[in-house]
Symmetry: C2
């Protein structure tokens, strides 16, 4: 029997918890430790038998971890933790600050190459699976246009903006793909669409006692940057309903490549996700790619990588012959 | 400037013509020769300046071709041509006899390794892009079910069967995914569905003079194996409409992975294709993978490969840094 892949988690929030759950679904992997900047005794895992250590002592655990999955945020955690941890571990992360991706790639590549590790960045669904589909789309149908739509999905930033409106007790905001825009793209029209034209916004709001619905609604739909230029629907609901129906983190979206082959054949490739839990799905992608990272490291590869560099077969626990037989 | 990738085509039918058209859309590639078992002067290409040679003299052209795209059929052509041509060229083919894929892999692997070539088999959309999506689906959501639906697509075998019915002058048969079955899968029900439950059949028939529609319809819908167990619709149309609307080769389908993460979050990944021209799309996939084969060969790789073994970035003419910047 092959040894289990020993995985560590650095950072234990929603994403870290999702990674722990995803590892439990993969019988060739084992979660061996969680590292946190919080006091370790204050961190409660799904499986109480897995040890939690202080992030400060992570370096001492090098010999026991095959792949470290970084579950911190892209804004401040990963730019610091990524290059630091790549000195000691093979790593996978979900870095999603698009404008800085080549800079972050370089910051990981140097320590990873120096110490003989693989550092896989920007794994998840966007960046990640959506990126792959954008690449396949334009490589296969070079004459065409690619469209990315997001939603239906909870937007944290927009929910916060609604909650700051006077008279709002609780609120969430969902981004929705615009149905007309999707229909035009699917129809092969290759329209020019801004992000705004591709998306609508939907709010669910619980009013504070005595607040006026019309005033609140008006404050929301006219809010500059966030809502003014979008088609926005505001739904007022009672608190019981809110607590019951709006405590999840759904998300999803579409990547559509609309192209033409030969002289005039319309060809459409569509990839879509409908996710009950955004962090759990991102975690599931991270865990599958952790398997690939372990295999690449075993094969002697080093340096920073992205999903573009990973042969898909490496994601599966099955052998190449089994994959050909069962899935090709 | 980098030299153009010099591509050859072995076999010039619908697929070969699609490959020629697809190469014209890729500015880093050049079609240098077509090989045919027919008399070369009888083969008319889209671009009359490209030479056509007899398949028998293919060996003489080794030095001038970086990748040979094999456009023969899986039943008799590829099992013979694949292993033969892998001795002289890096190859890509669309072998789709599922039950023999590991046997064919072995038959290519030996000559390719012996002579230092890469032989990429079973490229297209199914096998090919659909296979990749089946792999991603189960690797990312190990707790779940994968569903493949085909259509709307022209089925050659079923069209032939309808044409053999007495009273039928012209006919085509389209396979359609069953809308109810797709809805149940998208809804996360994970139903158990046979191929028959997943598909309907739709025929367009031009009657011979004096033929009785009801008799013909009955002969079709009760035909064992082909139609008897399916929900089949027969549409009678006039010959002018038939010639105008049913001379294309549309196809497509869906790969849906319905899974559960964490304790109970439903997660759905859906990939779909809607193709005006099945052979042109398959050709477009072959050409993108020919680029990957050339790069692998330049990097010193040898032997038989499948889409599972190919890092997606190799399909694109863009550099890794450009891919990260534009698509990640």
């Amino acid at each position: 029997m092959t040894a289990l892949i020993r995985v560590g988690i650095a950072g234990y929030g929603n994403l870290g918890r999702g990674v722990e759950a995803a590892i439990q679904q993969n019988s060739d992997m084992q979660l061996v430790a969680v590292f946190s900047r919080r006091e370790p005794t204050s961190v409660t895992l799904l499986n109480a038998e897995v040890p939690v250590y202080a992030m400060a002592e992570v370096e001492q655990h090098q010999a026991n971890i095959d792949v470290m999955i970084l579950c911190g945020g892209s804004k401040t955690d990963l730019p610091e933790q990524g290059p630091y941890l790549a000195q000691f571990f093979n790593t996978v992360d979900s870095f999603d600050t698009h404008a800085k991706v080549n800079e972050y790639h370089a910051a990981l590549d140097t320590p990873a190459k120096k110490t003989g590790h693989v550092a896989l960045l920007s794994v998840g669904w966007d960046p990640g699976l959506f990126s792959l589909n954008r690449l396949f789309g334009e490589a296969i149908l070079p004459q065409g246009e690619t469209y990315t739509f997001w939603g239906k999905g909870l937007s944290q930033g927009h929910s916060d903006a609604v909650r700051r409106v006077a008279g709002v007790k609780k609120a969430v905001q969902y981004t929705l793909p615009n149905a007309d825009a999707i229909a035009r793209v699917r129809n092969g029209e290759q329209p020019v669409l801004s992000t705004r034209e591709k998306h609508n916004r939907e709010c669910y709001v619980v009013l504070s006692q005595g607040a006026d619905a019309e005033t609140v609604c008006n404050s929301i739909v006219t809010m500059p940057d966030y809502f003014a230029d979008f088609d926005t629907v505001v739904n007022f609901i009672d608190e019981t309903t809110f607590d019951k129906e709006h405590n999840n983190m759904p998300h999803g979206g579409f990547v559509i490549r609309s192209g033409v082959s030969g002289t005039s054949s319309k060809q459409t490739i569509e990839y879509s996700l409908k996710l009950d839990s955004n962090p759990e799905f991102t975690a599931s992608v991270l865990v599958a790619y952790a398997r690939a990272v372990h295999r690449l490291a075993c094969a002697g590869e080093v340096g920073a990588k992205t999903v573009f560099d990973i042969a898909p077969g490496l994601l599966s626990p099955k052998s190449p012959a089994q994959l050909r037989k069962e899935l090709l």
